[in-house]
Structures are given as C-alpha cells and as structure tokens.
C-alpha cells in the first residue's frame, strides 16, 4: 500500500484530475460533435493556436502562485506589451518591436515585484492596482486606437507562420511549456519558488532569499504576459487596448484546474497547459454544439466549477 502511494505521490490526485477531465471533455466532444468537425486536424490545431497566449500567461502564473503570490495585472501587461511592440514597429525594425514588447512586460512585472518583495505589500492588492493602472496606460497610449502590425516577419514568427509545417504558435507553446517545466521542476530556482510558497519561514531559515524569489516570480509573470502580448499582436496582425483583458479568469481557472495550489507550494506547468487547452476546447466545443451564447457561458461556468471543486477536494482528506 505504501509503495503504491509512494509511486503515485509524484502524480497525486489533484494533478491527475486535470488529465482525466481533459480526456473526458475531449471524448464527449469527439463523440457528440463527430459530424461537426471537432476532430478535424484543422479544428484541433485551432484550439492550440487560440490558447497559445493564454498558455504562456498561465506558465507565468504557475510560478507566481507557487511562490504564494498572485498576479492580477497580466492582462493589462499583455495590452501594454502588444501596443508597445506595434507602435515601435511602425517606425523601427522588428528587433526593436520585440524588445519593446518584452521589455514592457519585464519592467511592469519587475515593478510589481519590487512593490511586493521590497515594500512588503500584498501582491493581490499591488497587482489589483497595477491592473487598473496599466489598463489605463494601454488605453491612453494610442488613444484607444488599434495599431496594425505590418511587419510580415513579425507576424510570421509570432502569429501565422510555420516552421517545418508546424504553426509558430504551436512551437511557442511547446518552447514555453518545456522551459517553464524545466525551470519549475529541475532547477534550484524552481525548488526555492516552491519552498517560498510552501513555508516562507522554512525557506528563509534555509538560506533562501525569499524577497528575491518573490521579485523574480512577478517579473517572470510580466515577461510571460509580454510574450503573450507579442503572440496576440502577431496573430491579429494588430494590437489593441482590450487584448488580454478577458484572459484573467480563464488563465486563473486553467492554472488552478491544472493542479496549482492557490496558496502556493505546489503546482504544475504541464497541468497548466492541459488546463489552458481544456478551456480552449470548451469554448470551441460549445460553439460547435451550436449553443446559444448565454448557454455557452452557463455550461462553461458549470464545468469549470466542477473541475475546480474536484481538483481541490483532495485537500481536506
């Protein structure tokens, strides 16, 4: 009994539930939407393309939540980053655009991190405030105008291009998840993030620089949001102040369903990917089922509720 439990301890129930849920929803749609094109390669590719930016945001959030922090501002960062890249590329080359977009994300994330780690403010309140602050900045940057992105190399790399017939957004998803997983599970930094979220005092007396970890995770969140902004700008061939605005709840749900604890100390980058794909698959399948818009929202809400409830149930045992 013990040995079974031990073997499963790396993949406990909370982390398994997302895979089971994903599979269940997939099978349900595959069976009921057989004739509606759900299983076509085109549709399945669509789901990955559509969720790529959210998946990248989710990776950042796994780090923040695991360290016991939260970032509510990443949606606003996405908009600022996409607009920065688009505006810069109107006059300058792609490299400057990428630099501006990622740079904006890293800097805003570092700003959040500074306030949380060194001014000792709670990340919930800091990022709640910066969410509004940078949403306002995104709006004022271009006076609510959308900015087209005409640089085709950029839109290929971050949007509609392909490498060896694999769409670039799929490649970004794979790279993001691979790096995220490696850092999270197989580096000292990842271990220190988990320890910080699990028991900050234990981390601190073990010589881990807890404030530095807090600073880094929020900066990582900003960087991921910055990359997500570039992906949106590439995909839409334009940037707009509303980008990322509606991703907050989807991404948080994806990360929680994916087995990351809200209170820190536990998480999974791979689970977040599956969670994100699950959200995308729900959107996709419910539209293909031809439900009314209100019903789509109700069903999606109920399924997320169920998934979160099941994935958190284990906690109290």
């Amino acid at each position: 009994m013990n040995s079974v439990k031990t073997r499963l301890s790396g993949l406990d129930f909370q982390q398994l539930v997302v895979y089971i849920g994903f599979l269940a929803i997939f099978l349900f749609f595959a069976l009921t939407l057989q004739d509606d094109g759900f299983l076509t390669q085109r549709n399945l590719t669509n789901i990955i393309l559509q969720t790529a930016p959210a998946t990248i945001m989710a990776i950042g959030l796994v780090f923040a939540l695991s360290a016991g922090e939260i970032d509510l501002s990443f949606g606003s960062i996405v908009a600022v980053s996409a607009l920065s890249a688009a505006v810069v590329m109107q006059e300058h080359s792609m490299a400057f655009g990428i630099f501006a977009g990622l740079g904006a994300g890293v800097m805003i994330g570092a700003f959040n991190g500074l306030l949380v780690a060194y001014f000792k403010l709670p990340s919930f309140l800091v990022t709640l405030a910066t969410m509004g602050l940078f949403a306002g900045i995104a709006r004022s940057m271009t006076n609510l105008r959308s900015i087209p992105v005409l640089n085709e190399t950029f839109t290929d790399i971050f949007g509609s291009g392909k490498l060896f017939s694999v769409p670039s957004l799929v490649i970004w998803t794979i790279i993001g998840v691979a790096i995220g997983h490696l850092v999270y599970r197989h580096t000292k930094f990842g271990a220190h993030v988990l320890a910080t979220g699990d028991n900050p005092r234990a981390a601190q007396v073990s010589g881990i620089k807890v404030p530095r970890i807090r600073f880094y995770v929020l900066t990582i969140c900003g960087a991921c949001a910055g990359l997500a902004g570039l992906l949106y700008a590439g995909r839409l061939q334009a940037a707009r102040y509303t980008l990322g605005e509606s991703d907050l709840m989807t991404v948080i749900a994806a990360v929680i369903v994916g087995g990351t604890a809200l209170k820190g100390g536990k998480g999974s980058v791979f689970g977040a990917l599956i969670g994100s794909l699950m959200m995308g698959m729900l959107n996709n399948g419910l539209i293909l089922m031809n439900l009314r818009v209100s019903d789509q929202m109700i069903v999606r809400g109920l399924i997320i509720l169920l998934a979160v409830a099941v994935s958190l149930r284990d906690k109290n045992r």
């Binding site: 040995s3 320890a195 699990d198 981390a203 007396v205 010589g207």
Partner: protein, 246 residues
C-alpha cells in the same frame, strides 16, 4: 579535533533590545559529543540565546568562539556555513514538498552540465540518512504532510545532522509529540552524541533533560543561575534554580 577543545565557547554574552536586557553575562563551553540542556521558565532567555548562537541575533557584547576561533555571524547562513544547525520548534519544513527536497532545502544538489537538480542523488542520500538514523518513513520521496509529528521531527533532526559539522541546537524537539514518538526522537538525539557533535537542547521536560543531558544550564530572567553536572544533581535542585524558590 583534539579532545578537550571546546566546540563552542560563549564568554560574557550580553544582549539587550533597546533598554531591555534579555541576556546578561552568559558563559558556557560545549565540547564535542556533549549534550547540554538549557532550562528555565518562559521568558528566561533560552530562545534568545539559541538565536544568538545561530546567528539570527548579534550579541550586544561578549565573545563567541568556535573551535577556539573567534566567530561573528552576520546572519543565519553564516552560522550554518560554520557547521551550526538548528532544529526549530516549528520544524521549518516545507509541508508539500517531498522529504528529500526538505533535506536539501536551500542547499539542493545539482549536476553538470546545466546545473539542473540532481533529484536522484538527493533522494538516495536522504534515504540513506533516514535509514541510518532509523527515522521510519515510507520513503524519502514521501510528502511531509503525509507524515506524523514524530516522523517530521525525525526529518528535521536528520537534516540538521546531515549538515552540522560541529553543533546542533534543538529548540523543544519533542514538545508536540506523544510518548512513543518522544522516545524515538530521544534515541536519535543520543545517536548524535556518537557522531561527536556538540548539542545544545532546550526542553521544558525535566525528565527528558535528565535522560539526555550531560550538563544542565539554568537561566532565570536573562541571568545565568548556574551549570550542573546532570549526574551529580537532582530535580529538586534544578527546580529551585529555575524558580528561585529554595
């Protein structure tokens, strides 16, 4: 290490917080393979003393020597790098992480060429350690939150043992444990003696103090009342030293 050399030597340690004196004129020598118990009422200054030795507090005045060398610790890390480990009352374990990651918390082993965590080796070494100290847990990969209080204390002590080269400070190691678990932890502490480590233990249980220690050092309101050989004193004497009532 030549026998007879003091592993830790505290001379005239004085610590005040603002105008409040927490420790006054405390002196103690600790030898390798020796267990000294620190006893006293709440607020007597035991925890303050532990924090001074572990580098959390800097003494206002006085001298700390390690193996005869004057030592100043700027923080907990520097005390740790000098071979001093602390087992805290709240154990300082990350509950949702596996045993082996806790064992190497903050000092994780990595492997070339990319400096990634060497989980296999950490797990192996952790397993060896818990086996050696006879901490009975399902496996070094078990999650801390699945373990009992005694098992957790065992892990905390095993971790300190693994990293300490000179001195282990134990702050109320069995306060939260039942009778059987206490007995097991005490066995472990006695085992540490054989590893030639110096041990300073805080305990409220005089029975335990008499079972484990070689000498007993009594504190009252920051003042060092006296040090007794455990073998040549009794509970009555210690109690009256603690309370100041004879």
């Amino acid at each position: 290490m030549t026998p007879g050399t003091n592993v830790l030597s505290l001379k005239n340690i004085h610590k005040a917080f603002g105008g409040v004196v927490a420790i006054q004129d405390f002196s103690l020598d600790l030898q390798a393979g020796e267990i000294v118990a620190l006893v006293g009422d709440n607020g007597a200054g035991k925890s303050t003393l532990i924090k001074i030795v572990s580098g959390v507090y800097t003494p206002t005045s006085g001298e700390i020597r390690l193996d005869g060398e004057a030592a100043t610790f700027s923080d907990a890390s520097s005390a740790r790098s000098n071979g001093i480990e602390v087992v805290y009352q709240d154990l300082a374990l990350a509950d949702q992480q596996p045993v082996y990651m806790n064992m190497f918390l903050g000092r994780e082993l990595t492997k070339p060429p990319f400096g990634l965590l060497d989980k296999a080796r950490m797990r192996r070494e952790a397993q060896g350690l818990v086996d050696e100290l006879d901490v009975r847990i399902p496996s070094a990969a078990s999650t801390i939150s699945d373990l009992s209080g005694g098992q957790r204390q065992g892990i905390a002590i095993a971790r300190a043992t693994h990293w300490a080269s000179k001195l282990i400070l134990l702050d109320e190691p069995t306060a939260a444990l039942g009778v059987a678990e206490t007995a097991r932890v005490e066995e472990q502490i006695i085992n540490l003696k054989q590893k030639n480590l110096a041990i300073l233990i805080i305990s409220h249980s005089l029975d335990q103090v008499f079972r484990l220690s070689d000498r007993i050092c009594v504190l009252r309101r920051g003042e060092q009342i006296g040090i007794r050989e455990t073998a040549s004193t009794d509970k009555n004497e210690i109690v009256s030293m603690i309370t100041g009532v004879s």
